[in-house]
Symmetry: C2
Subunit: 688 residues, 2 copies
């Protein structure tokens, strides 16, 4: 498992192997003073040459991305849906990989130097005394014996190889942050219970099912002598963990375009976002499973408990850190959008760094930071900064994602230590399929027992089908390719990603029509009429009790304290807390009625139902902080489950407990309750 | 001059010295198989520790920037103008530098290993055979003998030191691109002749004056024995080149805020943008001055000619490349702002890489690419992408600039090889002052001979005062600090930057009022009444003939071909070229009257003069491509100097030759010509 490549903590985009080596100077004699100036010139020339070459290499990647963008524009323009930009990026990457592998062969006479220094350590920094001059070297990583020859063989392939930590420390964070920042909150919270079940229970189940199946497969290979190295049970579990991170970006892009059912979207998106976090922490816990004693791959209860402890500790630590910094970003810089955007960006980045510095997982922290910032900080930003931040992270996400996928295609041909084992590959595809099935179907069955509005079987099939593997799986598998087991995993993972992105991603439209899932759903209507004509109201009843408590707490206390939206604290806190409430409530909450409108509403789906109203509820907040109301507000909205249901149904518009008098245009004079039946009937009327 | 640090071509933000070294494993005996697993664990722990430490280091910089943003918000909020954000970033950097230098001392017992391998070369990649295992090392740079001890002394200082190439390859490009992309074109083109004179002639004059003065200073030091190493004339010239790059970002921010005269703004901004490019190429030409033979620092005509050739070649190559890729980015992706923005960003970056790969100067190419894209590509972008690209580069510029300035503050204390020589420092300050004076005053005198509207003496004093040194000077001086001469230059340059940014930058408001330069100038009025009440119409007559030819060519042919704005080609080409014209003109040019409005107008200053009109000029373009017009359009606008003047006066609104009927609201019914007198009188009326 050990590899020293993690010492070089990433970000060496240009500083990859500079193999243009001073072969000529090898021949030169020992230090001759009169040669010094000439030598300097030669060194500089070489350095310039190397820099040029690096620029040209990077240019290849940039042009690859440019080509992807141009082609994808053509596809979008012509409404081809069978290939997503990520799938296309992989194809272009593959093509470039083939060219680099077979067409370009940089002569191997410009070789690098192997020192056999007989030192006893591999320090991170090495000072080499070259004929009186000291040169400083940094450790790049350990190299296996076979690779030593490879390096001297074709340096072009090595030049386009990035430090694997680049993916974790540069490319993944913006992708994961963007996912957290763009969660459609209304439908996400409606289905929170199910999403958490799929993400936590489901991922763990999937990990162990895949791990066990692969262990069987490995045993079989060992029997028939197809195994060329060690492959322990922890390796199998690790493989289970990394391929359990789903990434249905292709599917979701099509869902978005075709306006597929918002609950299905929320289930899939929420699950995929959270299970990335679970898979990262799970895989690092498995790596951390280190039983004491000599035999390091037997089962040991203490070590397992320790791994479990690591999982809980790292996950909750990252979660807490992400949420905490998300909340801390409490911007009051509304007049200077540039400063605001810069601060927002820096705070998000520092969350990642802080988590990494504390030994937690930066990617997980960034995910929860994004979600918290979407929930709280977003409301405090000026409208211009809201646009800017969304657009900035959208762009970063787009570039990073396409870069990863094109690199994935490239690496299929440029990675030198592939281990393609047919039995393992077939076993892996089977295990991935069964693992996904063991995640979705039993869990859906159990969840449906508790859910008022069931997850229908065609939704389950669609979720099963949408179990694509993507950037996270790739980044986890390329992180360490030192041992035979890891190399085989990496090669197999690549194939799994290719297959799922191209076949499952490309077949989404067909699958949707095959499963008779309605497309072009108006986000208001989809709650009421299922695809089969049967009533299917959104699953508000599935929310678990702690979620309801949290929601009330969040809405009545956290939002008013942390943002300028939500009801003034003076309206939600008991009268005795008046002075405290006034102190914590921002002046804007009183001043500006417009301000009170929760600006989340454009993060979530549009809701035309603003024309509905609850009659005339008047809340006037006087200067003393105590609140007087025309109708008893507390009874109508605060701390009431009915109010929560109503709000969820109304998509966070939070009209009810705004603390201001709302008289909205009404199209009928019915009493507002019971809401569901009324809305339902209303919809039926308009549809008939 | 030679240093191998350029081999490591930058971008190693995280990959700085990982000095946490396996001192413990030194003590361990030679390879013992049973220790292997344990050793792996130790290695991984060390790697993790190192990664954490790197994250924490980077976090320090992020928090530094965050602190700067928060403080600068406070300053902007309270309208403190004496300290710009860059000055503030330097102060914070200084404070952190002091803390790192004197308060934190990482114990030196965790030391790195010095190998005395007696090899004869310093290859870029080193394979070290450590007791049977191969480790790969990359060259970081040469280290002087004294530094070897320093490394083992305080590693904290080394850990916060970035590879100097980071500035050139990551941080400067967005700054320079942003400068090119946000040039206010109207006033820039009006003063193009003067700007080019200041930027090219002025910078070269300044470089040689400073070089000569410094050579005198160095001779003096040698006489009295104050010189501790070699200091050649080329070094003096190099110093002249790097401190000739002005960067009045502080001054311009205040100009913008106070709405200072737009011509003064254009002169200063245009000069500073272009002289960066000149200084970069000039300094690399001076480094490239390599006379043949043993005595490498004597004068030789051939070598000088060669340097001059390098200057011309690199400059024109970079220029051509920047302009070419700027023009190539011909986006038709208007429906997908995300794709458009991503493409725009990638193309700008690939300009930089392409220039570097070709051996030109990436920064110069990026500058001209930015200018070209602002001129042509910007018009083709969708309005959303126009905002997005502007905001994106604004953010990148902001972050990069503040990072550089805070690093500058930091490095005053953390750089270990400072050479502060009082005589050299005093000489440098004097030389910088005289060099600036020799640039501004004689050139202004010469330019005023040709200009119809003179550059007044208070403007000259202001330009003299605004010769701040900033990011470019710093990046050039830190790029190579291997020799004694370079170290002394670097230390002195730091002081020059600090002094000019704090003193000159902070005193801008005082200087403005002292020189009686009007502030709060409406961008329309500033052309007509000078600060002294005397008429001072903008200097349209100073434009040289080639500029006029180019302007007509650009406006009538290039713009219609490359953008969707400007007149249709069918209106500007002779009738015989009808078919060609129709083929090259984009359909939008006919279809959409709105489209025709040059969207540059928001890049340049707002102009209320749209209410003026030239009577009723009707141009109808029929399908055959020949144009018929109510009044002879060609005579009014195309190829006429008068039209050019009028357009320059009207700020690129290009109402005249739109090829469409324009009936604008008029506040009086005077005939439109003569424009100048009319506008002038009109303004006087409204002012009196």
């Amino acid at each position: 498992m050990g590899s020293t490549c993690e010492i070089n903590a990433a970000m060496s985009i240009w500083r990859r192997l500079s193999l243009f080596v001073l072969a000529s100077s090898l021949c030169s004699c020992l230090c001759r003073a009169e040669d010094s100036a000439m030598e300097n010139i030669v060194t500089e020339k070489k350095a310039e040459e190397s820099h040029r070459q690096d620029s040209a290499d990077l240019l290849v990647f940039i042009l690859l991305l440019t080509l992807t963008i141009l082609t994808i524009w053509l596809f979008k323009h012509r409404r081809f849906r069978f290939l997503h930009e990520t799938g296309l990026a992989m194809i272009y990457g593959l093509l470039v990989g083939v060219v680099l592998r077979y067409a370009i062969h940089v002569p191997s006479d410009m070789n690098n130097v192997t020192l056999s220094c007989n030192v006893n350590a591999s320090p991170a920094t090495l000072l080499v005394n070259v004929s009186g001059k000291f040169y400083e070297y940094t450790l790049k990583g350990e190299i296996s014996g076979s690779e030593v020859n490879d390096i001297q063989d074709n340096e072009m392939l090595r030049k386009v190889t990035f430090d694997p930590e680049v993916f974790f420390n540069i490319l993944l964070p913006p992708i994961i942050f963007h996912a957290g920042y763009s969660l459609k909150r209304r439908h996400f919270f409606r289905n929170l219970g199910s999403i958490l079940a799929y993400a936590f229970v489901g991922t763990v189940v999937s990990c162990f099912i895949i791990g066990l199946l692969m262990y069987g497969c490995v045993m079989l290979m060992k029997q028939i002598g197809h195994l060329g190295g060690d492959f322990f049970f922890t390796d199998c579990l690790f493989f289970g963990a990394i391929v359990s991170a789903t990434d249905p970006v292709t599917v979701l892009a099509i869902f978005n375009e075709l306006q597929v059912d918002a609950d299905l979207y929320a289930l899939l998106f929420g699950e995929s976002v959270l299970n990335d976090a679970v898979a990262v922490v799970l895989s690092s816990s498995i790596v951390g499973y280190q039983p004491e004693g000599d035999n390091s791959h037997t089962f040991e209860a203490m070590a397992m408990l320790k791994s479990f402890g690591i999982f809980l500790g790292v996950f909750s630590g990252s979660f807490a850190l992400g949420v905490a910094t998300g909340v801390v970003t409490f911007t009051k810089l509304r007049d200077f959008p540039l400063l605001e955007t810069a601060l927002f960006f820096l705070m998000s980045w520092s969350t990642f760094l802080l988590a990494e510095a504390c030994g937690f997982t930066g990617v997980v922290a960034v995910l929860f930071c994004g979600m918290t910032q979407a929930h709280y900080t977003f409301n405090n930003l000026s409208p211009e900064s809201q646009d800017r931040t969304k657009q900035l992270f959208e762009l970063l996400n787009f570039l990073a994602e396409n870069f990863i996928f094109s690199y994935m295609g490239l690496t299929l041909f440029t990675f030198k230590n592939h281990v393609f084992n047919p039995i393992f590959i077939v076993g892996a595809f089977l295990a991935v399929f069964l693992g996904r099935a063991a995640n979705i179907y039993p869990l859906s069955f159990l969840l449906n027992l508790g859910r008022k509005y069931k997850i229908s079987s065609n939704f389950q099939h669609m979720m099963m089908f949408a179990g694509l593997r993507g950037a996270m799986t790739f980044a986890l598998s390329i992180r360490d390719t030192a041992t035979y087991a890891r190399q085989m995993m990496f090669s197999t993972t690549l194939l799994v990603v290719f297959f799922t992105v191209w076949i499952c991603g490309g077949g989404t439209t067909q699958m949707l029509s095959c499963q008779k899932i309605r497309v072009g759903v108006d986000t208001d209507q989809e709650n009421f009429i299922g695809p089969d004509g049967v009533e299917r109201r959104s699953t508000k009843q599935e929310s678990v009790w702690f979620f309801r408590i949290w929601y009330n707490f969040d809405h009545n206390y956290l939002k008013p304290i942390l943002t300028h939206s939500g009801p003034p604290l003076t309206a939600t806190l008991p009268a005795c807390c008046g002075p405290l409430a006034r102190c914590l409530t921002s002046p804007q909450a009183y001043e500006n009625e417009e301000q009170l409108k929760d600006s989340d509403s454009d993060l979530i789906l549009n809701d035309g139902d603003i024309t509905l109203a609850y009659g005339d509820i008047t809340v006037s907040t006087d200067a003393t902080g105590a609140h007087t109301s025309g109708t008893p507000v507390g009874g109508v909205a605060v701390n009431s489950d009915e109010a929560l249901d109503r709000e969820l149904a109304f998509g966070d518009h939070e009209l009810v407990i705004r603390g201001t008098r709302l008289v909205l245009p009404m199209d009928d004079s019915e009493p507002p309750l019971p809401l569901d039946s009324r809305r339902h009937r209303h919809k039926n009327e308009t549809m008939s």
